[in-house]
Symmetry: C3
Subunit: 140 residues, 3 copies
């Protein structure tokens, strides 16, 4: 278990047209954020989501068309090979109120209101898990 103190809480809106995951990663690199909790809401266009099959050992990817409300962006930041790495999961709603969701690979930002709870303390590092090949925190 890692124990952290709050460094600060940041709030901001991402630029429309930006790619959400890349933009958040660049933000974390620029502001020396090595460990954090990210929450966000808004709307995105043409998100690519997916789920990891533990049976097959592969990610199933799904490209969604059109515009979606970003109902939850639930992500964490930790280090991978010494650099900030974002693990983002989302739920998305369409205009009929139907919901899709998964691991977020990419999405074009329409509106993204982001809170980052920036933490300080000995950072969590992702390492390759021997069994699954996934990049995971150690279990203590």
């Amino acid at each position: 278990m890692s124990t952290f103190k709050t460094r600060e809480v940041q709030a901001f809106r991402l630029s429309p047209g930006a790619e959400l995951v890349a933009e958040l990663t660049a933000h974390c690199e620029q502001h020396d954020i090595h460990q954090a909790l990210i929450l966000g809401l808004g709307a995105v266009r043409e998100p690519e989501i997916g789920g990891y099959s533990f049976v097959e050992g592969v990610y199933h990817r799904l490209q969604l068309a059109g515009d979606w409300e970003l109902l939850t962006l639930n992500a964490n930041v930790s280090l991978k090979e010494g650099r900030p790495f974002i693990h983002p999961h989302v739920t998305l709603g369409n205009s009929a109120g139907e919901v899709r969701g998964g691991h977020l690979f990419s999405a074009e930002v329409l509106v993204a209101e982001i809170f980052i709870h920036v933490l300080e303390g000995a950072p969590l590092e992702r390492v390759t898990d021997a069994e699954t090949g996934l990049s995971l925190w150690p279990v203590e």
Copy 2:
């Protein structure tokens, strides 16, 4: 980007029968909450949700019947015309485990367990976006 410190974290249950969005707004006004992150869970009755169409420039509204588990209330608080304004997104589950979600316009509270991470610092203010007409934070 706005940077905040934690003022406090509040936890409470909303009164059954109250309208969720109005009650949270009144709470923020009463407690001088100008900038915050709100998370909640519980159950609501007859929620009205929706999604904004960036193509058409209008909100599509959807009135759901009956009772729904409140799986996520993911909301932020900032200022709009000098007063606390809540931007709430929700995911909702029915008794078959099916999920709907969107921007939350209103819902009757059955049970609502709320956490407000109250922040202090120079507040974010919403201003009318020239392109969409939406009330948004400035992009920096």
Copy 3:
């Protein structure tokens, strides 16, 4: 309303194969966590979810088969009969991006990356609600 300060923020990964709700409860007991906000993401196997029917006064339970992305774990910790009690709601995605969700009764952990925002202050205690029979925080 209860008002808290942050004691610390914990981040950790649960052991694969563990039962998620029992493991989190044990963690809170072991670390004297009486009041907290829990957020998590990852993947789980064969989750049992449900929703409470306020009309019938019973929980409808639903056993889901297979593996699911844990899109949101949105939970709170408070005291019930003097011991830490976790109230967990989840949204879950399958490999087609379809989402189910509800109150979480149990799930086998595949990967669970957990943040606990540990709070300190006079704890919230759950008491049996006369009207519904549910174990709830007092409304103030």
